[in-house]
Structure formats: structure tokens, C-alpha cells
Symmetry: C2
Subunit: 132 residues, 2 copies
């Protein structure tokens, strides 16, 4: 199976639930953004069996820790995730809470001139809020 090795290599047991979630998250043409709520619905639509909400949370966090998902910093009551783990940025439509990918070429290089002693930069994320 497609995702069994990926999971095993990450030290995650390839359980039925995780494989199903992999299908929903990664077996797509395009990457996408989601909240846990939206993912839950997507899973319900795609598979017959039910996956517990706790498992969805566990799995998403496990995948994030392994670098298969990214959290997007947005002010919202819900946490947004992205299946696109490459360096890129986002538009955030304040009206409907939807995110739109911004290619790196749409933003240009960002050069952080200041350094903090003993710290490394893990990521640089640009959020462009949109209004009407």
C-alpha cells in the first residue's frame, strides 16, 4: 500500500484509520487547507466506517509533528492546517475565513535582517488579510 511505508518510516503504525486519513489528505491532485471540522466531514464523505474525533486530532497532530502537515497562523477560533508543506504564504479572506495560497514568487524573497542569539529561524510565514 501507498502510505504504509511512509508511516512506518516515521515510526507510526500504519493503522486502518491513519491510512484512511492519508487517503483523504494526500491522495489528491491539489494540496488544500482544512480545519479539523472540515476534515471530519471530508472523512465521513469518503469512507464508510467512522473515525473518532479524538483519532482525527491525534493523527493530524502526529502528521504535523512528522512534517506532513503545517499549521497556518491565523486568528480564528479553529486551527487551520495545510497539506502543502513547502515554503509559501497565504491570503486570508476575512469575509468567509477562507485561505488562498500565495506562491513564493508572488511575494518575493523575505530577508530577515535581525538575529536573535541562540535561536534559529524555523519558518517565515506571511499572512495577507483581505477585505472587501
Amino acid at each position: 500500500m501507498k502510505y504504509i511505508d511512509k508511516l512506518r518510516n516515521s515510526g507510526l503504525r500504519p493503522t486502518k484509520q491513519r491510512l484512511q486519513i492519508c487517503e483523504v489528505l494526500f491522495n489528491t491532485e491539489k494540496t488544500f487547507h482544512f480545519t479539523i471540522n472540515e476534515l471530519e466531514r471530508k472523512i465521513k464523505d469518503k469512507i464508510d466506517s467512522k473515525i473518532s474525533l479524538a483519532t482525527i486530532y491525534n493523527t493530524v497532530h502526529a502528521f504535523e509533528k512528522k512534517g506532513y502537515l503545517k499549521q497556518i497562523p491565523v486568528n480564528s477560533n479553529q486551527t487551520y492546517f495545510d497539506t502543502n508543506t513547502t515554503d509559501h504564504h497565504h491570503f486570508y479572506n476575512l469575509k468567509d475565513g477562507k485561505l488562498i495560497d500565495l506562491e513564493n514568487s508572488d511575494v518575493g524573497p523575505i530577508n530577515i535582517k535581525r538575529k536573535i542569539d541562540g535561536k534559529k529561524i524555523k519558518s517565515i510565514e506571511v499572512l495577507v488579510k483581505l477585505e472587501d
Copy 2:
């Protein structure tokens, strides 16, 4: 009084509570970042009387809407606010959840080349996550 006009000009009645919160938020040498929880503690420390938590939420949201405070997009279970409403960005120390201001000159101009029809850019915010 210092803040009465500021409030009145914004269409906010200068109540005792709002004036006290103004003192805590704006009568400082340096701007700062805070969560509602931290602000509540700060208020308790500074004044004798008690301000209801609901009022603190109401006031912070009112001030944000008027542009006296900014929300900072960070992934955290709590909402972070900033009394520095000028255009600037943030380091986010993943270890302790603390924010550090990044002057605009530390980042350089950010030029968003892509446009979304019918939408205006309200803000551009850069979050630089730091790890050890």
C-alpha cells in the same frame, strides 16, 4: 483627562472601566503584547476596583475595531494582541510562546504581486518562528 477625547471621538463612551483599561494599555513607555489573561492580571495589579472579564473582552474588541489594538496571527489557544498598531512583524519563540517585535526595517518591504478581484489588502503580517 488624557483618554476621554480619544474615546469620545471614536464613538465610545468614556466609562470608568474603559479609562482604566486605557491607562494599562496605552500609558506606557513601550508597546507590548498580551493575551486577555495577562491583561486581566495587569489590570488587577494596577487598580483597586475590579473589572469584569466580560468587560475586558468587550473593551479589547472595541479598541481593536477602532484600530487602537491589533490582533497578532499566531497559533495558540489564546489570542494575542499588540498595543503597537504600526506596520511591523514578529518573531515567535516556539519554546516559550513569547513574541518579539520586528521593525519594518528588519524585514524590508514586502511586495505582494498577486491580486484578488474585488478584494483589498487590509494587512500584511510576517511571523518568523524561532527554535533553538
